[in-house]
Amino acid sequence: MPTFFEAKQLVTPGELLAEGEYQAGENTYVEAGKIFASRIGLVDLENKKVNVVALRAFYVPKPGDIVIGSVIEVGFNGWTIDIKAPYTAMLRASDVLSRPFKPQNDELSQVLDAGDLIVAKIASFDRAHDPQLTVGEPGLGKITRGQLMRVIPTKIPRVIGRKGSMISMIKTETNCQIILGLNGVILVTGKNPADEELAMKAIKKIEDESHTTGLTDRITQLLKEAKAKPEEIKQ
C-alpha cells in the first residue's frame, strides 16, 4: 500500500502517486487500482486522499462562483459573456432589467455593450448547457473603473490566503478594493494608479511563487518597502 512521492513534490501527468487504500483527490485519476497524476503540480497527502495542486489549469464554471467577464456579443434577449473558461456564459436581459424584457422598448446595448466588464455569479451550469450568469445581488454588475489582471485560477486560494489573511493584507497596505473572480480574473481599484500597480505586483508575485516557502513574509516585505520608497513602484 505504498505512496510514491514526497510531500509537495512536483509531479507531471501520468506519474504514479499511490497504490492501494488511498483516495484519488484533485487532479489525479485511478486506473487498475493505482492513482496517477493528471496535471503538473505539487502532490500532497491529506488523510488518505492524494491531491495534486495544479500549477497549470483553467477555470471550469461552478454554480455560485463569482467571476469577472467581458461582453462579447449583444443578443436579442441577453448578452454573451467571455468568462475565460471553455464555455462562454449567457446573461439574460430579464436578469439585469429586473422586470420583463420588451424587445420593442429595450435597447440592450445601452445597458451593457460589447467590451463592457461585469462582476457576476454563475447561476447555473451543466454538461448540456452553457453557464448562465446573474448580477442580481449586491456588489455584482457593471465595472466602471479599476484595473484587470489574470492569474491561473488555481492560484486564487493562495491570493486569498488562510482565512483571507493574504488578500486583506494587500487591501490594507495598498488601499485598494480587490475583487477576485474565481475564473482567475482580478479587479483592482485604488485611489491612484500607483496603489493599483503595487497591489497587482504583489498578486503577481503570489502567483509566480505560490509553491515556495516564506511567501507571506516576502509579500509583507514587498508592500512595506514599496510604501517606504514609492517612486520605485512607478517605474
Partner: protein, 249 residues
C-alpha cells in the same frame, strides 16, 4: 533507391552521423515558449526544429464538429516552406493531412474527452526545419504543450522511431537513413500506461525485426520521457524551496 550510396553504417556499427545503432540524436525540449497560446513547447530533435501551440478547451469551430458528450481534439501538422531543401508549398499536402490525423490519434488516448463536453482543443504543429522523424518529435512536443495548457492527461505521450538501415535495426533515423534505409517504424508511447498510441511502418521487416524495432523504439521513448518530464518541471523549478505555506481551508 537504386543509386549507389555511401554505406549508412560501417563495419564497427557506427552510423554516418557518428551514432551507434541504439543511440538517440541530441534533444532539446522547452515548455511555455509562446505567450499567446494556452500551452506550447519547442523541440530540437537532431536537426528537426518544431514548435507546437495548444489552444483550448474552447468553443468548437466550425460548429458541426462539436460533440454533445465530449471534447474534440483537432490537430494540424504543417511544414514551413523553408523547412526542407526544396521549398515546400504552404498548401497542406496529402502527407500532412495524414500526419495530422495520426498525430491527433496518438494524443487522444492521453486525454479525458468526456470531462469537457461541447468543447474543442486545437493542437498546431509547425515544422520549422525537418530532418527525418518530424512526426515523432512533434508528438513529444505536443504532449508537453498539452500538459502546459493545463488540460488533464492520463500520461505524457512520447514518440521515437526505429528502423532498419543496411541490415541493422537502428534507433531514431535521420533524413538520409529514412530515405535510403530499408524500413522506418515511428512509435508513440505512454510510458506509465505501457500503451502504444502511434505505430506506422514503411519498408520491409521480418516479424523478428519488427519486434526488435518496436522494442528499440519504446526504449528510445523511455529515454526521451525522462527529458520530457525534466523540461516540464524545469519551468516551475525556478525557486526550489519547498512550500509550507498556509492556504485557504
Amino acid at each position: 533507391m537504386s543509386e549507389k550510396h555511401e554505406k549508412l553504417i560501417d563495419k564497427k556499427g557506427i552510423r554516418l552521423d557518428g551514432r551507434k545503432a541504439d543511440e538517440l540524436r541530441s534533444l532539446k525540449l522547452e515548455v511555455g515558449v509562446l505567450p499567446n497560446a494556452d500551452g506550447s513547447a519547442y523541440v530540437e530533435h537532431g536537426k528537426n526544429k518544431i514548435l507546437v501551440g495548444v489552444f483550448g478547451p474552447r468553443e468548437v469551430h466550425p460548429k458541426h464538429l462539436m460533440k454533445a458528450d465530449r471534447m474534440v481534439l483537432k490537430c494540424r501538422y504543417h511544414m514551413a516552406p523553408f523547412s526542407v531543401p526544396e521549398r515546400k508549398s504552404p498548401a497542406p499536402s496529402r502527407r500532412e493531412v495524414e500526419l495530422s490525423k495520426v498525430i491527433r490519434e496518438s494524443l487522444e488516448p492521453a486525454l479525458f474527452p468526456e470531462l469537457y463536453p461541447r468543447t474543442g482543443i486545437d493542437v498546431y504543429v509547425e515544422v520549422l526545419q525537418a530532418d527525418g522523424g518530424t512526426r515523432c518529435a512533434a508528438i513529444t512536443a505536443a504532449a508537453l504543450a498539452l500538459a502546459d495548457s493545463g488540460i488533464p492527461m492520463r500520461d505524457l505521450v512520447v514518440a521515437c522511431a526505429a528502423g532498419k538501415v543496411e541490415d541493422t535495426v537502428v534507433l531514431d533515423l535521420y533524413d538520409a537513413e529514412d530515405k535510403l534505409g530499408a524500413a522506418d517504424v515511428p512509435v508513440a508511447y505512454m510510458p506509465n500506461l505501457n500503451a502504444v498510441t502511434l505505430l506506422q511502418m514503411d519498408g520491409q521487416l521480418s516479424p523478428e525485426e519488427f519486434e526488435k524495432a518496436l522494442n528499440m523504439a519504446m526504449e528510445g521513448c523511455k529515454k526521451i520521457y525522462a527529458l520530457q518530464k525534466e523540461a516540464l518541471k524545469n519551468k516551475y523549478m525556478t525557486t526550489k524551496v519547498e512550500t509550507k505555506e498556509e492556504t485557504e481551508e
